[in-house]
Symmetry: C2
Subunit: 324 residues, 2 copies
Amino acid sequence: MLTGTTRVEEETKQRVLAAIAATGYEPDQIAQSLVQQRSRTIALALLLGEGGFSLSGIGQSRFYFYLHILSEIERETAAAGYDLFLPSHPYSDFARYVSTLKTRRVDGMIMIAPYPFEERVRAMIKSNIPTLFVDAVGQGPRASYVMVDHIGGCRQAIQHLLALGHRRIAILTGEKDNDPASQRLLGYQLALAEAGVGMDEKLVLHAGFDRVEAYEAMVALLKAYCGEFTAIVAASDMMAIGALRALREQGIRVPEDVSVVGFDDIDLCPDIDPPLTTIRPDKEVLAQGAVRKLLDIIENNGPVAPSIASTQLVQRASTGPVLH
Amino acid sequence: MLTGTTRVEEETKQRVLAAIAATGYEPDQIAQSLVQQRSRTIALALLLGEGGFSLSGIGQSRFYFYLHILSEIERETAAAGYDLFLPSHPYSDFARYVSTLKTRRVDGMIMIAPYPFEERVRAMIKSNIPTLFVDAVGQGPRASYVMVDHIGGCRQAIQHLLALGHRRIAILTGEKDNDPASQRLLGYQLALAEAGVGMDEKLVLHAGFDRVEAYEAMVALLKAYCGEFTAIVAASDMMAIGALRALREQGIRVPEDVSVVGFDDIDLCPDIDPPLTTIRPDKEVLAQGAVRKLLDIIENNGPVAPSIASTQLVQRASTGPVLH
DNA sequence: CTGAAAGCGCTTACAG
DNA sequence: CTGAAAGCGCTTACAG
């Protein structure tokens, strides 16, 4: 009955279950894992810098957006009865990393990997451990991914600025070899092309997804081309915060002189000065999609289609019409 | 030899080890856990709101400070060869929560619990699972804690303001039933008493450790007693951000009209407008202390003394001398 | 010192 | 349908 192989009358079933509950019996998970060859555990990794651990960099502001994703992931995995696991080996030692996953009988893996670690993404796919990537393109017989609609999101940002009359729009995006960053750049190009607005290469900046790097890039841009743009789109809210600092230091008013749009809609946005207009990705869809697809792979053992989470514009005070 | 019970010649040992490595053999952790009655795993929990999960609330700004602690904890546990584990049962269902820890053979637990969940802290201690609390007083035969020096830190903040000539100093602290919050209030009272400065009850505000609540408290304070204080100490940098927003909206200049001090020294501080003077707790000591003490309890099975992490003042642009 | 056996706490395939 | 046995992959206490 307990294993569900037998049909028992509902009342009897309840009484037996009650009796078991009264005893306080809980099956030993370890013994269960050994015999079932699975642990009902999902591993979590934030692929950030070189040689990092699962949680390393979690306190860096560039990662702030993913924190909400993490708690959503936890909620979803909990609902499905899985515990979460964080391997302590750094994934720079990938062989041992995967070996830990296997000898611990981890059922699957969610890997948040917005970074250009193609080798590791590939190695993970090759390991044949069911894996779901967040913000990294990774597909295989037992691997799939969910991704924010970086292209569409950035396009919405540009369209918003175009509607306000802006034509000289700078973009502050991430590293060149980074998927989200290059996709956002694509959205920028797309939206400008659609509107028949020419693109100016010198208004395209690459920086780390980082407040400090964004600040520095902005300082450099202002030094070289101040006055040659009326708006800037940042690849993340944290980058926008860095950019705003540079603008503030130069005495440039936002949004009167320059409009600023962020990306992510982190909870700080309303408290930024000025409150930040931004693009909000659908976090619930992203996190739920990741977990459900992963469970699908684990339980049905088949390939699963990737999905893209949509975005929406959240308008606050950092953007305004062009003033002549 | 492998278990270390036999003495073998070094050279032979190396050759055997090399042969094993060549085979790629890794002992099955699950089988090992079953027979050794331990999993070399440490559970992690962030005790935040009611009925939360291990990671719930991790994306709330009020928790930002602890993120750095988390990655430090991971580094330390990894060095000691432990993997991290996040039970999926909410600790609101505490019996099952503890049961998961036991049936998974978790070796110990690190619980970040700045909140007033005395019952849960007590229940955790009673479970007899080795536990180390961060920012919660919890002691037992197999439990201890590490805590930021909230009293001393807040005292440093006040002393800094006193040295700048401030006498009318408001404090924006956390909930009344919260250990860190009440300790910071104590530091405030201490420092004022030491300087012979009288305390004004109406300048003592309690709010959640939260940007929004801090903002609202500040709005209320300004409405009632604007002009009656020249400085304010917030219980966290995020609360300071909320307070700054309220000041900005009222056209009150920082630091010319009001000086502001935060607490935590999160990485956003230099990017805040104005860059925030704050109190920095020694995060490394906090995290290392937590892990090492926990391992001490696990391995030596004895009680361990708690410890307090010191703080230091980090001066930036949000504080200045009183202007008459 | 070495090697075979017992046992960790379960599940599952199988004999009765 | 029920119950006893085998087995998951290790470690460890024990007989040789």
